[in-house]
């Protein structure tokens, strides 16, 4: 993994405020192509907000986002999704009324383009397109081992499975960068192991760059190539897991007793 040093994404001097609340204050860091980048920090540190900035849901008051070596102009979230950024959400944001397979198919939405006319007939190009993308989605579902719930409406699934479906949906977008917001919250060790394996496989096999927020330090230490630490909006540390783990400021603000 020595080549992981061409920068694919960089945020520069981000400042984000909500009324009086300063969520992010002058934070800069970068993400290398193909790496797993963890973002950690205490609750309310601004981690999720950072992801929201990266995928365009929040517009920071100041700061720039560079992607693929270019400064990104101001865009709507759906346009940003097109540039190859996919994500999962901390509070699961699945489409509750749809089944698993339908949810995963929504990830392919951007790649489909057959018009209303063909859609109405569901014939010819439209069905071909549907089949082609469906195949890809089934692969992802196989990969994440959620076959058994393909036809289940996601609303009544247990939390952990919902997280996995969310990952499947994000993967279906074939993203360049995958942003994961606490993908392993609410899972036990066994499930976390499964999830870790999926994340590593995605990273290694598809070469997807991953930015990951996680509170389980063991997971972060094992998976991440580099770690950014945020603390109440400020950048506290940035480095390899080992460096971060031994940083006293990080221990004080976040880890408590050294693990």
């Amino acid at each position: 993994m020595s080549e992981k040093n061409s920068v694919i994404m960089e945020v520069k001097n981000i400042n984000l405020r909500f009324g009086g609340v300063i969520a992010i204050q002058d934070v800069s860091f970068n993400i290398f192509e193909g790496e797993i980048r963890a973002i950690i920090g205490p609750n309310g540190a601004g981690k999720s907000s950072m992801l929201n900035v990266i995928n365009g849901f929040y517009h920071p008051q100041e700061g720039e986002v560079w992607f693929n070596g270019e400064k990104r102009p101001s865009m709507e979230p759906y346009q940003i999704a097109k540039t190859g950024i996919a994500r999962t959400f901390q509070n699961i944001a699945l489409f509750k009324g749809m089944t698993t397979i339908e949810n995963v198919m929504t990830g392919r939405q951007l790649k489909m383009n057959k018009n209303f006319f063909w859609q109405m007939l569901r014939y010819g190009p439209a069905i071909d397109e549907e089949v082609q993308h469906r195949r890809r989605c089934e692969e992802i579902i196989d990969f994440l081992e959620i076959n058994h719930i393909r036809k289940t409406p996601v609303g009544s699934l247990p939390y952990g499975l919902q997280k996995r479906v969310e990952l499947a949906r994000a993967l279906a977008m074939d993203p360049k960068i995958l942003l994961l917001d606490e993908p392993m919250a609410g899972m036990n060790v066994e499930e976390k192991q499964d999830m870790s394996r999926f994340i590593i496989d995605v990273n290694e096999e598809f070469g997807t760059t991953i930015a990951l927020i996680e509170h389980d330090m063991a997971v972060v230490m094992d998976l991440a190539d580099r770690v950014v630490v945020l603390d109440y909006g400020k950048l506290l540390a940035d480095g390899t897991p080992a460096e971060v783990q031994s940083n006293q400021a990080v221990i004080d603000a976040y880890l408590g007793v050294p693990h």
Partner: protein
């Protein structure tokens, strides 16, 4: 202090079966007890039925179109079948729901105050409880005037727990309290649990995925799989059980196994 033997049983769940929507059978005969002043952990994988068990106790099940079709639940020796959730709170049982469920349009402080809804006491007493909660969670004090809907995930989790504390309960049903909390806070929350348990002798029934911490603080535990209790016993024993060790604590013979090295053909354990 809690002592394993000769404890008065506070909550007694006996062989319950739960069906959602008249068609989905989720719990298939779960029995458990919570002793007065004890901490009982409920462990199990996703979808095992932990939340469902807690909701049948707090009687929130009905609002999800779920129903206890068999078995009985009694609290302090009395059946809770005909009580509504508010009655349960009044008789001292409060649940902290999974997924936070804050009142988005109320401020953090108002959220906490709703926790004291059933208490018929003076304003100053409520203020005391409020101060206590702020003492436990200083972060909430900073954010007290902001709408709960705009606080971070972890902050919302604190609100939900703090809100339950405001009712000064006798028993707290905690559904995944550690979810989404920073490590240091996880410890803190469990320390709070411990304190409440020891000082105020509040009983806890906690559903947790973080088996490690849960078994560290609990007195006894139940392991649930697919709606059945597959193992139970004092926390100490469970901690030592090799299966639990491997599948719930992530320890193998060589110590903690790295998440990085888990192999896809890893052995899986199913009790049934």
């Amino acid at each position: 202090m809690f002592d394993d033997k000769n404890q008065e049983i506070l909550l007694d769940v006996s062989n319950i079966e739960v069906v959602y929507n008249n068609i989905i059978l989720v719990l298939r005969g779960v029995s458990l007890t919570v002793e007065k002043g004890g901490i009982t952990a409920l462990l199990g994988g996703n979808g095992a039925g932990k939340s469902t068990t807690l909701k049948s106790v707090s009687n929130l099940l009905r609002s999800e179109r779920g129903e206890v079709t068999k078995g009985t639940i009694s609290y302090n020796g009395e059946s809770i079948k005909d009580l509504d959730p508010a009655d349960m709170v009044r008789s001292g049982v409060i649940q902290v729901m999974e997924g936070r469920h804050c009142f988005e349009h109320l401020t953090v402080e108002e959220n906490l105050l709703t926790g004291a809804y059933t208490r018929k006491v003076s304003g100053s007493e409520i203020q005391e409880s409020l101060d206590l909660v702020y003492n436990y969670f200083p972060r909430l004090k900073e954010r007290r005037k902001s709408l709960a809907g705009y606080t971070s995930g972890g902050e919302q989790q604190m609100v939900a727990i703090g809100r339950a504390l405001m009712s000064q309960p006798e028993t707290i049903l905690l559904d995944e309290p550690s979810m989404g909390l920073a490590p240091q806070l996880v410890e803190e929350i469990f320390e709070i649990v411990k304190q409440l348990n020891e000082k105020e002798s509040v009983a806890f029934l906690l559903a947790e995925q973080n088996t490690n911490v849960a078994l560290k603080y609990a007195h006894k535990g139940y392991i649930l799989e697919s709606g059945r209790v597959v193992m139970d016993g004092p926390a100490k024993e469970l901690r030592e059980n090799p299966d639990v060790k491997e599948f719930y604590l992530g320890m193998s013979e060589e110590g903690r196994s790295s998440f990085k090295n888990t192999k896809s053909y890893r052995r899986r354990k199913r009790w049934l």
